[in-house]
């Protein structure tokens, strides 16, 4: 997105804007200032971004949105704090340094009503979209991907060389808000107790099967959908290579006094890992994982050992790449995943030694064995009450017969405990 000229950022289209509802209000009702011909006097008391105080300036008409927006991730940036709190361990004496770092480097990603609906985000230079006309639907490339650009935007729009854009954009010309509804973006919580901890907290939204209902387990006769059911997130089979990053370090420039960052590397990956946030809403055993540029020394400019609990979160994280395709290299055949070649999985050898502990929950030990399709579909389900068992070792009972457990067939000897639920899915 090309930056706007200074005059362009502030130009009001009188012919269009004054015909809109907002255009019928006095400028000073929102922007304050002083009625005068010269710029300096006119800008005395100017409120450049009224929606920085949404309740005061927007709430009178849009209270359905402003009442929840305070607790929405776009405003609260709670997703940052959830990760920071886990890795910093919330050590009280480190709080000032962490908060200073956050204010310098993270808080710029905060957004307001106006930065989506009337102007480009300040973070990318600001400037009115269309002569001050308020856009109910934010323009995708000047709003959404202006911030969410280096990963999601580039993937969705097909800007990564040699990798096609998302089919929803390429074929359907869908914009972000076709899937990400206003309630998701504006938030639904009315207090911090019930607010989302990050973007993957709570209900899965958007959910592919809301539109592709037949792809849900039992929904169609595609054996891949039936066999993999809830074991794989849709992106495991339907996304392609996406961006990962390494080693972000932040500091304040000695020469200019401006905050800056450095990331060591940006590269394309497609790796399937274990789901580190498995839940009822996201029951998948395997998901694509993306390396985030977290580093144990990322904030050393601000203080020593500010991330003592660095290993509490993986650096290869649950990911939903936005480059969905119907046909992908991995869904061409069963052998893409069920073979000796484990290159598609996040195995320990692909993780930096110093990050092995942090990624223990996502590393795949061995590839899933190739099993006859009919055998999978006819495998008896695991009784629902097994979910309460403390041990995850199926073989402890089913190879010994203790607790009157039925013995597994001889040809199952090659399978490990991790494999069992792949065929013997849990009964509901």
């Amino acid at each position: 997105m090309a930056p706007l000229e200074p005059w362009e950022k502030a130009l009001v289209d009188a012919g269009t804007f004054l015909e809109t509802t907002h255009g019928k209000m006095a400028c000073t009702a929102c922007h304050g200032g002083t009625e005068a011909a010269d710029k300096e006097t006119a800008h005395t008391g100017l409120v450049a971004s009224p929606s920085s105080e949404p309740e005061k300036y927007c709430g009178e008409c849009h209270d359905d949105v402003t009442s929840t927006f305070e607790f929405a991730l776009h405003n609260s940036q709670q997703g940052y704090w959830t990760a920071l709190n886990a890795r910093t361990g919330e050590v009280p004496e480190n709080h000032p340094a962490v908060e200073e770092m956050f204010g310098n480097h993270c808080a710029t990603c905060h957004t307001t009503c106006g930065e989506c609906h009337v102007s480009q985000p300040k973070n990318v230079g600001g400037g009115l979209f269309t002569g001050h006309v308020f856009e109910k639907t934010p323009p995708m490339t000047r709003s959404c991907t202006a911030c969410h650009g280096s990963r999601v935007g580039n993937e969705f729009l097909g800007k990564n060389e040699g990798i096609p854009g998302d089919v929803h954009f390429r074929e359907g010309r869908m914009s972000c808000v076709k899937c990400h509804a206003g309630a998701e973006l504006h938030g639904t919580a009315t207090d911090m107790e019930t607010a989302e901890a990050n973007r993957y907290d709570g209900m899965e939204a958007p959910k592919c099967v809301d539109c592709h209902a037949t792809a849900a387990p039992g929904g169609d006769d595609n054996p891949m959908h039936q066999v993999h059911g809830e074991k794989l997130s849709c992106q495991v089979c339907h996304s392609v290579t996406y961006t990962s990053c390494d080693n972000c370090h932040v500091a304040v420039s000695e020469t200019s006094g401006n905050p800056f960052f450095e990331t060591d590397a940006t590269y394309q990956t497609f790796l399937i890992g274990r789901n580190p946030i498995q839940s009822d809403e996201r029951p998948y055993a395997f998901v694509p994982v993306r390396h985030v540029p977290a580093d144990p020394n990322a904030y050393e400019f601000y203080g020593e050992n500010l991330l003592p609990n660095f290993d509490s979160l993986p650096t290869w994280v649950y990911s939903t790449p936005h480059n969905i395709q119907k046909n992908t290299p991995q869904n061409e055949s069963c052998e893409s995943c069920h073979a000796e070649d484990v290159s598609i999985f996040l195995t320990a050898d692909k993780v930096k030694p110093e990050e092995l502990a942090a990624n223990a929950s996502v590393i795949v030990e061995a590839n899933p064995p190739l099993v006859d399709l009919e055998q999978v579909l006819s495998a008896p389900k695991t009784p629902a009450n097994h979910a309460e068992l403390v041990s995850n070792s199926c073989t402890a009972c089913h190879t010994t017969g203790i607790r009157n457990a039925p013995l597994s067939p001889e040809d199952h000897a090659v399978y490990k405990d991790d494999n069992c639920l792949g065929c013997h899915t849990m009964a509901k």
């Binding site: 000229e5 200074p6 005059w7 502030a10 130009l11 009001v12 289209d13 009188a14 004054l18 255009g23 019928k24 209000m25 006095a26 400028c27 000073t28 009702a29 922007h31 200032g33 009625e35 005068a36 011909a37 710029k39 006119a42 280096s150 961006t243 990053c245 972000c248 420039s253 200019s256 401006n258 800056f260 960052f261 450095e262 990331t263 060591d264 590397a265 940006t266």
Partner: protein, 96 residues
């Protein structure tokens, strides 16, 4: 006879005076009735004015900020008055 006439004359004068006083009293009362109207009758006249003030006229009326619009709808004026751009060299490296 003279005395009787004198008495009759006096009576006529007295009656005329009484009539005059009565006439003046009635006229005074009539004028007073016309001049002073009860305050309750004036209220309906003020109500429409009060109602007009309660409309959101002040919010949605024609924009009074002519100075704001004079400048912000004039491309050349904005170019002429824009603060000079200070090109700060980006010190960040890599993808943010």
């Amino acid at each position: 006879m003279n005395k009787i006439c004198e008495i009759e004359h006096n009576c006529e004068v007295t009656l005329s005076k009484i009539r005059l006083i009565l006439l003046m009293t009635v006229a005074t009362l009539a004028l007073a009735a016309c001049a002073a109207k009860p305050p309750t009758e004036a209220a309906p006249e003020t109500e429409p004015t009060a109602a007009a003030e309660e409309t959101p006229e002040a919010v949605v009326s024609a924009v009074p900020d002519t100075e704001c619009l004079n400048c912000h709808t004039d491309k050349q004026h904005l170019i002429d008055t824009a603060a000079p751009v200070v090109e700060a060299e980006g010190e960040s490296k890599g993808v943010g």
